[in-house]
Point group: C2
Chain length 250, copies 2
DNA sequence: ATTTCCCTGATTGTTGACAATAACCATGAC
DNA sequence: GTCATGGTTATTGTCAACAATCAGGGAAAT
């Protein structure tokens, strides 16, 4: 029960084709193999995954409900492309839900769960200090931290909404905007304070600290976006395609 | 753009069978025609709605993602049955999301939208006072109030999560537990204060009032449940099946 | 030259049939 | 009498073919 990070581990109980291809597609989208905004064609995917269109369509319907693809009747489906506006909306939702999760975690988390949370924290710090360039792992590691708190809330509905819906969108954003963690040391300090508040059972403080943590992350993203816009303006008509919104070729 | 209440109005742009049957099933579940916990058989539903199993299964996959049905591979699907624990979890999520919605509404709502909100409020009051027994409408009416605030947040992701996911579960609970609105006059007062806070642009107050509003509703439900448990205990082994959890026949 | 219309191609929507799995019931052994 | 075991049946999972709809291109008319 160490890590919830999704590496290539697809076949966690995939007893049906539709289930398996759903997880595969979810992974492919989040990892950027299916680029954001690219069109999805049913015969193509069916051949790629070696299945018929029936189960594939069911998987796509689930992806649609999870907001990972968008679909227009009789036209087709395409991988969702997060605009900056939608990304900021996503942060507002995270602020609301994760602050509530932190509050509930402070109320319900067991000592074992708190200890596991601390373990994850020191593991990240060591890894982060040792190999700064290997921020790839810190990416998922940050999510691990949040995963554990959400699980600590002991609220199943909150867990599924955050872990099964929102966090996939968060990871999609990280690939779409090629965004690394950013502000690691400050985040570590905030993480520690949050854990301390949870460990001491201070609901109010835990909620407030998590709220500010998410707000700070949101602000970092917003500032970075503003800066990239300036860059685009400076570079005028050169190849400043850092955050441009043109459709990637299929 | 008066009311968002769902009466029999299914065919709002249902260009495909799967879409149409999805909405029909959603409605049937929420209205109690498909009782909570009842088993769903594909051939049965396919014949009932006069379609094939293909589109039906896609609709069911969407319902599954929206948590209105639960599905076990090779076994079957059944309408979700909210336990009291899950119901309280639902209230925690509402507290988090709706308080955020109220904050954003205070920030973004236009004067027109605020006026529409006030109109809905007085309409409900008149109706509620005139015909107390007709609490049926007050039910959906209460949701109308919350709908308008969520829409006023101008956060599309929040809108879909609350309106397309959570609110259907709320309505399902209302039919499952045969719960009427309860505490109408106190709720009216709270509604008014919330609207005032939103109108004055006081984000902090709007969020806090909405949070307390949801908490109060949650507490009412919890107390009512405790009372019903007492009733069951008093009635001993008679037909005290107010909140029992036995499976309805298919 | 531009616009409109139609035709072609491809993709999506839908269907019915086939295969696989699991629940149910009866039979038999201990 | 109880438990294990087998067969039967119904339901789910999957597939390939058919029908309907939309996008794109080219020809004809203004």
């Amino acid at each position: 029960m160490t890590s919830t990070t999704s590496s290539g581990e697809i076949p966690l109980e995939a007893r049906t084709l539709a289930e398996r291809v759903f997880q595969q597609l979810q992974d492919a989208i989040v990892r950027g193999e299916l680029p954001a905004g690219s069109k999805i064609t049913e015969p193509g995917l069916a051949q790629t995954y070696g299945i018929s269109r029936g189960p594939l369509r069911e998987a796509m319907r689930r992806l649609e409900a999870h907001r990972l693809i968008e679909r227009e009747p009789h036209v087709g489906a395409r991988v969702v492309k997060l605009s900056m506006r939608e990304l900021l909306e996503l942060f507002d939702m995270r602020e609301a839900l994760e602050s509530m999760a932190a509050r509930l975690a402070a109320r319900h988390m067991t000592t074992d769960e708190v200890q596991a949370l601390r373990d994850v924290l020191v593991a990240h710090e060591e890894q982060g200090d040792l190999d700064q360039a290997e921020a790839y792992y810190q990416r998922e590691g940050d999510l691990d931290f949040h995963y554990l708190i959400v699980r600590g809330s002991h609220n199943r509905m909150l867990m599924t909404t955050l872990c099964d819906d929102l966090y996939y969108l968060v990871r999609l954003y990280r690939t779409q905007y090629s965004a690394r963690g950013g502000r690691p040391q400050r985040a570590f300090i905030e993480h520690h304070r949050i854990v301390d508040a949870i460990a001491s059972g201070d609901e109010e403080l835990a909620e407030q600290l998590m709220r500010r943590h998410v707000i700070a992350a949101r602000q970092t993203v917003a500032e970075r976006y503003a800066m990239s816009l300036d860059d685009d303006r400076d570079l005028s008509k050169s190849n400043g395609r850092a955050l441009s919104r043109r459709t990637p070729s299929a």
